[in-house]
């Protein structure tokens, strides 16, 4: 589905962050490498914080006179992140997490460019794109 309004983009973003939060919560139950448990918990908390900040910033920045139609942003390009299962190995969990972060980094970059008419939120998306890139780098350093 094409995301054509600011509120549609925001709603989809919050859904993606909900998925991220749940993903890392579920990942902490993997007992094979308990030292990554804290890392996953941190990522889950970061996701919750991003969601709170997004909601607050959007609420404080939306301006009826600046709203513009959006084109070229499709939900399907950013869904389909792998789900976790109990049978997954630690390596598989890490691979799934890296894929998630790659997808989310791309989403924040792409969506941020589309909502430039609400600059405060657009800047937040740019920051979160960088944040997800850092998370990806951390995950790539784990084995």
């Amino acid at each position: 589905m094409e995301l054509k309004t600011f509120s549609a983009v925001l709603k989809f973003t919050l859904q993606l962050e909900d998925h991220t939060t749940q993903f890392y919560q579920d990942a902490t139950s993997n007992d094979e490498y308990p030292q990554t448990k804290q890392t996953f918990l941190t990522f889950s908390e970061s996701s919750k914080k991003r969601k709170r900040t997004l909601e607050k910033t959007a609420r404080e920045s939306v301006d009826h006179s600046l709203l513009e139609p959006i084109s070229g942003l499709f939900e399907e390009q950013y869904t389909g992140s792998p789900l976790l299962s109990e049978s997954m190995s630690h390596a598989d969990v890490l691979a799934a997490a890296r894929k998630l972060e790659e997808t989310m980094q791309k989403f924040y970059t792409d969506a941020g460019e589309k909502i430039g008419f609400i600059p405060a939120v657009s800047r937040l998306y740019k920051r979160y794109s960088q944040e997800r890139a850092k998370t990806l780098a951390t995950l790539q350093g784990l084995s």
Binding site: M1, L3, K4, T5, F6, S7, A8, L10, K11, R59, E60, S61, V62, D63, H64, S65, L66, L67, E68, P69, S71, F117
Partner: protein, 495 residues
Amino acid sequence: MVQTTRTQERRTGVPTIENYINGHWVESKSTRTLEVVNPATTEVLAQVPVSTKEEVEEAIQYAIGAFEEWRENPPLTRARYMFTLKNLMEEHFEEVSRILVQEHGKTIDEARGEVRRAIECVEHAAGIPTLMMGYNAETIAPGMDEECILQPLGVFCCLPPSNFPAMIPFWFLPYAVACGNTYIVKPSSEVPLSMNKMFELIDEADFPPGVINLVNGTREVADVLLESKDLKGVSFVGSTPVARYVYAKATSTGKRAQCQGGAKNFLVVMPDAPLDKIMPAIMNSVYGCAGQRCLAGANIVAIGDIYEPLKQKLVEAAKSIKVGNGLDESVQMGPLRSKQAKEKVLSYIETGMKEGAKLILDGRNIKVEGHENGYFIGPTIFDQADPKMKIGSEEIFGPVMCIMRAKNLDEVLQMIHQNPHGNAASIFTQSGKLAREFKHRVQAGDVGINLGIAAPVALFPFSGWKESFFGDLHGQGFDAINFFTERKVVVSRWF
């Protein structure tokens, strides 16, 4: 549900909203009510009473009674009420936005944007300790000093329109009350629910009884307020004929008045305008809130060779706008406010065709799945329109665009100035020289440079010229402070 005439006896099963007078919610004694209808679904949301003359006069007396004590509060104390109100508005932001969508029809994005602007006015008014400072000069003569102080006057009221029911009262109310006046709001009887919710927040903010009051009803209620010799001023926003009426009636009884009227706004596209970049702004300007804004773009004037590519892009962009129920986040344009509003716009489209303009995008027969009875009209475009045609000169207040042509800036400025309205005008260009010239010469109060909706933020007055405004001082900004206070000049000396 089949809608009959709006005025009818009270019915059970549909809530009837109340007035808020002297710090209490009060059921109106009137037996006359009107239906509040969701324009997307035609569901009856509530009933609103047509308050009695006695109830309005009672509200006025309570507001007068509350004034003396309220004005004695230091400005900083009054500012603290504004901080409390702002926090409550933030807390209930989404709730108010959703009520607004259901009573008006605008999209959820537009509703949130409206509520945000209302909050910004409260935030600005919270600066009243500084905003209301006077000035002085020492030794204007030997041993004599002179000072100018700003003082509140008494009771003011506002008569807001149906297109921004949550925001427009806040162009006036927070400034009036922060200055030390007391206040009465009479919302539009078509869309009273979001203001009803705002008053729940005002009640929760615990303003002293009588400081801020709400009376519901129609023109009859407005007339009681306008005729009252006890009110000091009136703020109105609506159509030009009614603005003229309100201004004349208010000032004839010695009141201050600020009356914002209608509009017919021109968007000028110069040959150097980057079409892909400006298209979203033009779409928002013309079709945002289904064209029901006094700042909405109506006449798109192409200068020179840009006409053909502009026209093509306008049609392409307008065709892709998704119309539907505003609660659906994917919807980009909601319905017209009411059945009457829809019929009026349809009538203008018919007129436009008879006048010889070419209908190149016809939004009349749009079908919205699941909302077959809703008051929808799709984006509509006339080409070869003329500013002398009715569709080119009168406010349609719907999603109808008229494309026109002009040879140069001089010609388009002549077109703009011949229109009796002067609310807003925009130019799209990459030339600073042309933009400056446009800004300097255009006879309009709200000017956009590469913007389709030049909506002033709370710090600035919401301007309007010619028949778009009657009065001297506008809402918002320093104009509001000056409207809601009087100057007292004191010359003193001591023995």
